[in-house]
């Protein structure tokens, strides 16, 4: 049996009962589908993840890719899986049919990623980056670029990357120094990139790098950056591969985790012979890249969730089978499975609420993103555009931080065994750690949320979030069973909104003090969102409990986890709010040498 553990019922509960994802078929783009087709896809993804991807997790961990003579070599199992992933249509399932997609909703990609990431995070980064790169070309490239690259990337023949970071341009991309020198229709690229996931490998014959660089003479800063297509191997007019394109892998990082995913340093144009093709408009590279970046941020949250989800289930299996210690209760039941111990139950219930809440948060976000993308021009569409803008940094930061925390807690359930490599949990913990660091550290996400997202369009993103949450509370505040928690949520949320506005108002007056408290504010928004989503699930489950005799304990769990999480979390959020807007300035005032 594999390491990957998931309860498909939890996924379908959110999709079908909470979100009614079949309703997506009423959108124009999806009118050819029905809910059954979506269900089928999810079930197929489960099979693929368990059958093909799951074994890669261990294989990749013990046979990490190696760099030899400028070429990264991976194990053959990865190569086979990558090809099959593309051929079976997983890479491009949500893309339009023009270049080999299947036209499924984007939301399905998120769900598929949840499942595939859980089975092997390190592997799934490769097709996911390929998708992102191909989709960028599909969106911003010329017709010729599209037909040259996109179909081969979608079906797994070629792979793709995104090359942003340089050693002195990480969080601050405006410092990029890679240059592009016009050379007829094309450009000569020169520079060094680091931390490039799947930047080199032998899974495919070619790798299409999407590179940020500055055209000679372009303005300094972020407004002078353009996006280039830089294939590893030149492509002949007939589509066959030509000479190597002077892109050299100079090293791969030794990392804490994700050992199977090569993190490359790439040198472009060391022999002045690296050709790049402008993708999209000059000097608009960063904003083009952000299309991919936003998706990448959400997917980072998905990764946090996915690994947490399988970690929880692994801990659960252990807790239900490991016999240790006597029952503490007055009944004296003798030696018991550890799930009987209150402290273990506490950890399990917390993890369960966490996983279900994050999943609902992300799937809800994915559903709203469909509305934002596919509804015809309307106020409603704008509402969803704003809402998902607000949710993106929340999903990225919170699910990465908490995904890690869940893995840590799962290890704690296993005690000493959790620390050893015989169980998958210690690898999960190492793998998931990257999520709070890449695609913009969580500190960057907090600045984005409390600065940009609170402010743009006169606060429209914030207002969309506020509206959606307030609507929920208003509608359900008198619910017999959950009403008190919903009212409590509303009270805390209102205080948070007020605090957030006060904090945001500081941004101009006192930017340093403002920036001292953006991160705790992001966490409060995230926790409020969690309580909201969990209570929403609980309301749905409560209705189901009344309507059916089946799955009673399953639905009951949704109620209990929501009330538990609300009871544990709301008082803490409330207590923390005062601290973000207090006048104390010790973070700024403390002398540098007093640290």
């Amino acid at each position: 049996m594999g390491h990957f553990k998931i309860n498909i019922k939890d996924i379908f509960f959110i999709l079908k009962e909470q979100l009614s994802y079949g309703n997506l078929c009423s959108l124009d783009r999806y009118k050819g589908f029905n809910e059954k087709a979506f269900d089928l896809l999810v079930n197929e993804a489960m099979k693929f993840a368990k059958g093909i991807i799951d074994p890669l997790n261990m294989i990749g961990e013990t046979n990490a890719p190696k760099l030899a003579e400028g070429q990264v070599k991976c194990t053959p199992e990865f190569k086979k899986a990558f090809r099959q992933y593309g051929e079976d249509g997983w890479t491009a399932l949500s893309r339009d049919t023009d270049y080999g997609g299947q036209g499924f909703p984007n939301m399905m990609r998120i769900i598929i990623n949840d499942i595939m990431y859980g089975a092997c995070q390190a592997f799934n980064i490769a097709p996911n980056l390929t998708h992102g790169a191909a989709h960028l070309i599909e969106t911003f490239g010329t017709k010729e670029q599209k037909s040259t690259y996109v179909p081969k990337m979608f079906d797994g023949k070629w792979a793709g990357t995104m090359c942003l970071t340089e050693s002195d341009a990480g969080s601050n991309l405006s410092g990029i120094q890679t240059t592009a020198c016009p050379d007829g229709e094309q450009y000569k690229i020169k520079g060094f990139k680091i931390f490039i996931s799947w930047g080199d490998h032998d899974l495919t014959d070619n790798i299409i790098h999407l590179v940020l660089a500055r055209i000679e003479g372009a303005p300094k800063g972020s407004h002078g950056i353009s996006l280039f297509i830089v294939p590893k191997m030149c492509v002949n007019p007939d589509g066959t591969l030509g000479e190597p394109n002077d892109v050299i892998c100079t090293g791969i990082e030794e990392k804490m985790g994700l050992h199977a995913s090569p993190t490359a340093s790439l040198s472009f144009g060391a022999r002045d012979n690296c050709i790049g093709y402008l993708c999209g408009r000059k000097n608009k590279g960063l904003s083009h890249m952000f299309q991919m970046m936003n998706a990448a941020r959400i997917n980072t949250g998905v990764s946090g969730l996915a690994i947490a989800s399988t970690a929880y289930r692994n801990a659960l299996v252990y807790a239900k089978t490991r016999i240790q210690g006597n029952d503490i209760g007055p009944q004296k039941k003798g030696r018991v499975t550890i799930i009987k111990h209150p402290d273990v139950r506490r950890m399990l219930l917390w993890m369960k609420a966490m996983v279900d809440g994050m999943r609902s948060m992300i799937y809800s976000g994915a559903y709203w993103a469909e509305m934002a993308e596919e509804l015809p021009q309307s106020n409603e569409k704008n509402h969803y555009i704003n809402l998902i803008e607000f949710m993106t940094p929340i999903i990225k930061a919170y699910c990465s931080d908490m995904g890690f925390k869940v893995c840590e807690t799962a290890i704690q359930c296993l005690g000493g065994y959790g620390y050893c490599k015989d169980f998958p949990l210690e690898q999960y913990l190492r793998d998931v750690k990257i999520m709070s660091l890449y695609e913009g550290t969580n500190g960057i996400q907090a600045a984005d949320l409390m600065g940009r997202k609170m402010t743009i369009n006169n606060g429209a993103c914030f207002l969309a979030f506020k509206k959606e949450l307030t609507l929920f509370c208003e509608k359900n505040r008198t619910d017999e069973i959950l009403g008190s928690r919903i009212r409590a949520l509303k009270g805390v949320a209102n205080n948070l909104f007020e605090t957030a506005l006060t904090l945001n108002a500081l941004q101009k007056k006192d930017p340093l003090q403002f920036a001292s408290y953006t991160y705790p504010a992001l966490i409060s928004f995230s926790e409020v969102t969690m309580v909201w989503r969990l209570l929403d699930m609980a309301l749905v489950a409560q209705a189901s409990l009344e309507n059916t005799k089946k799955s009673q304990s399953f639905y009951k769990a949704k109620l209990l986890q929501a009330s538990y999480f609300a009871d544990m979390t709301l008082p803490l959020i409330q207590a923390g709010l005062e601290t973000f807007v207090r006048p104390g300035r010790e973070i700024l005032d403390i002398a540098d040498n007093a640290f």
Binding site: K320, I323, I339, H341, P342, R345, G443, S516, Y564, A575
Partner: protein, 605 residues
């Protein structure tokens, strides 16, 4: 290498300014020392830690230990440093000089340990774990046992371990199945398998002395039937030379998340029917005796986590001072503004100050406890001594449980300061985080510490010990309230402590009711709260001390350090403690959801 990982100023602040280690020298036990000699010794330890131990740390992490044919080889480079460590007599700084120890106060030994554990814990443990074993023999052993083992253990010539865990007896030691049969000569023959034995086998010492928990055939089930035995790897001849190889064999070493340099062994006892053990203390008193060692091990694990956290924090701080990235927020619109070190970015500063507040709070709590141990050792008044010993008892689960959890979180936050570079093996914090994770698991996992606190320690002597603990905090509050600089901050702590007292009584009552399981579902949150309260207490004490020093108009460097203490206390007490108040509201509600939820609701297998 530039020495950046030893927080010398803060260690000295604790030793000589807050807890006044120099005053111990007035007592006859420590009369041959003075502040100068303490300083010299600690300085030597620091130099040794940085120059020798830190230099081979990476070998431990990257090469790790190698198990082959029943033997475990440590990295080659460990051998020389281990030898030096023993020759320089760092193995037993606070132990009895009569048997090879150095007789230093625990506080000073704590400073030595902190530097060494922060530099290279696996290497430190090989050389010093014999002290725990030795202390048990010193306390409970026969004269013959003391003469045979003690000097060798205290001087590091022989290694020590503790053999408790079996595959089905981890947290639940009462379930262990290793047996002992008494022989005609008074020795015992042991049979069984132990796992997760730190330093259970290695090639650094000529002999290893294993204290082993086992059940004498016919003794009752559960913890009451457990005895403890001394099982040497090589039997010792009457002239103290080494004799036959005992029948205790290493059958494997674990592949782990971290502490790769430390051998975590599986040991088979008596597989050839010939494992000789010597009873330590009385029959069926094994658990009590082991707990004597266990308490020390728990305090040491808390200190280990703090040392990792401190080291990780200082690495992150160094990076934040040197890594240039992004403009100062004040100049964000000025295109000509230069990029600045990331310590200028408020979010990075927040993270650093957060780390600082835990590292320093934990350090002070640990030194406070060590100070209690020293004072108890000098005390002639039995009542006062008992009070000190009980304070140590009640703080032990906090130091083990809370320090290991927060220490790890500090390591993780330190990675965050590095950004993507924090995930790379070159970044020293990456390994520290992996190493630190063990501290919340071994020597009784966090949940066990929380149960120990709520179930045993908080109610000790009908709550009198808890009252003494509260009294200790209150006396600091009273002093701080007289101090204009920190009056308001002290008030905050007072409110929190009063509330904590209520919560403790409330939860204590629940543990004696039918809702005992509901109470214990709040054991860990309770321990977390008490930990936060201890941090606030320590920060107040630190701020009070600093405020007093500032009044004496010190030089700029010192003034910045002391003012920094005021700021850190303010940060913790005004930003973190309010959330603790929220945590207390949650515990006051004592919801029963975690107990009510049916097992099937967690999901099927």
């Amino acid at each position: 290498m530039v020495q950046i990982i030893a927080d010398r100023r803060d260690v000295d602040f604790n030793l000589y300014e807050i807890f006044n280690a120099q005053e111990l020298c007035d007592h006859k036990k420590f009369k041959e020392f003075n502040q100068k000699t303490f300083n010299m010794i600690v300085k030597e330890a620091r130099n040794f830690a940085i120059k020798e131990m830190l230099a081979v740390y990476k070998d431990g992490d990257e090469i790790g230990v190698n198990f082959e044919d029943g033997t475990v080889k440590v990295p080659d480079s460990f051998h020389r440093v281990h030898k030096l460590f023993c020759e320089n007599e760092w193995t037993a700084p606070a132990s009895n000089p009569e048997f090879g120890g150095q007789g230093l106060p625990y506080m000073v030994a704590g400073a030595i340990k902190e530097y060494m554990m922060g530099a290279n814990w696996p290497l430190y443990a090989y050389a010093s774990m014999g002290v725990g074993t030795g202390r048990m023999i010193e306390t409970f052993g026969t004269k013959g046992q003391i003469e045979t083992y003690l000097n060798k253990l205290y001087t590091g010539k022989w290694g020590g371990t503790m053999l408790l865990t079996e595959s089905d007896a981890g947290t639940d030691l009462g379930a262990l199945t290793t047996t002992a049969v008494k022989n005609f000569d008074g020795t015992y023959s042991l049979t069984g398998n132990k796992i997760f034995i730190t330093n259970g086998e290695h090639d650094l010492c000529e002999n290893i002395i294993h204290p082993v928990l086992a059940r004498i055939k016919g003794d009752p089930e559960g913890t009451k039937g457990i005895s403890i035995f001394i099982v040497p790897k090589f039997l010792v001849n009457p002239d103290l030379s080494l004799g036959e190889r005992n029948d205790i064999l290493c059958t494997g070493a674990e592949e782990k998340h971290g502490i790769h340099g430390s051998a975590t062994c599986s040991l088979a006892l008596g597989s050839k029917g010939n494992c000789v053990g010597y009873l330590l203390g009385e029959e069926r008193k094994g658990m009590n005796i082991m707990f004597n060692m266990m308490n020390g091990a728990r305090l040491s694990t808390g200190a280990q986590a703090m040392a990792y956290a401190s080291t990780a924090y200082l690495y992150a701080l160094d990076y934040a001072r040197n890594r240039i990235q992004g403009k100062d927020l004040k100049d964000i619109l000025n295109p000509k503004a230069p990029s600045v070190p990331i310590i200028h970015h408020p979010d990075v500063r927040r993270n650093l100050l957060w780390m600082k507040s835990y590292v320093e709070g934990l350090r002070s709590l640990i030194y406070y406890t060590l100070n209690c141990m020293d004072r108890s050792g000098c005390e002639i008044d039995k009542k006062r001594q008992e009070k000190l010993d009980n304070l140590i008892e009640i703080l032990t689960p906090i130091i083990k449980g809370y320090s290991s959890e927060r220490g790890y979180e500090v390591c993780i936050q330190a990675m965050q300061v590095f950004g993507g570079a924090g995930y790379i093996r070159d970044c020293p914090v990456e390994a520290l985080a992996r190493d630190c994770k063990i501290t919340s698991i071994y020597e009784g996992c966090t949940g066990v510490q929380a149960m120990d606190l709520l179930g045993r320690k908080a109610g000790m002597n009908k709550g009198a010990v808890f009252m003494d603990f509260i009294g200790e905090i209150k006396s600091v509050i009273e002093k701080a309230k007289q101090d204009e600089n920190i009056k308001d901050t002290a008030q905050r702590v007072e409110t929190a402590v009063n509330r904590f007292h209520e919560i403790a009584s409330h939860l204590g009552r629940k543990t004696k009711s039918l809702e005992i399981d509901v109470a214990f579902a709040h054991a860990t949150p309770f321990m977390e709260i008490m930990g936060d309260i201890c941090m606030a207490w320590m920060h107040l004490l630190r701020a009070n001390t600093a405020s007093y020093k500032i009044a004496a108009k010190p030089k700029k460097r010192d003034r910045d350090f002391y003012t920094g203490q005021l700021k850190t206390a303010e940060f913790f007490i005004h930003t973190i403690l309010p959330v603790t108040m929220g945590k207390m509201d949650v515990v006051a509600d004592t919801v029963s959801t975690a107990i009510d939820i049916p097992e099937s609701s967690f999901g099927g297998l």
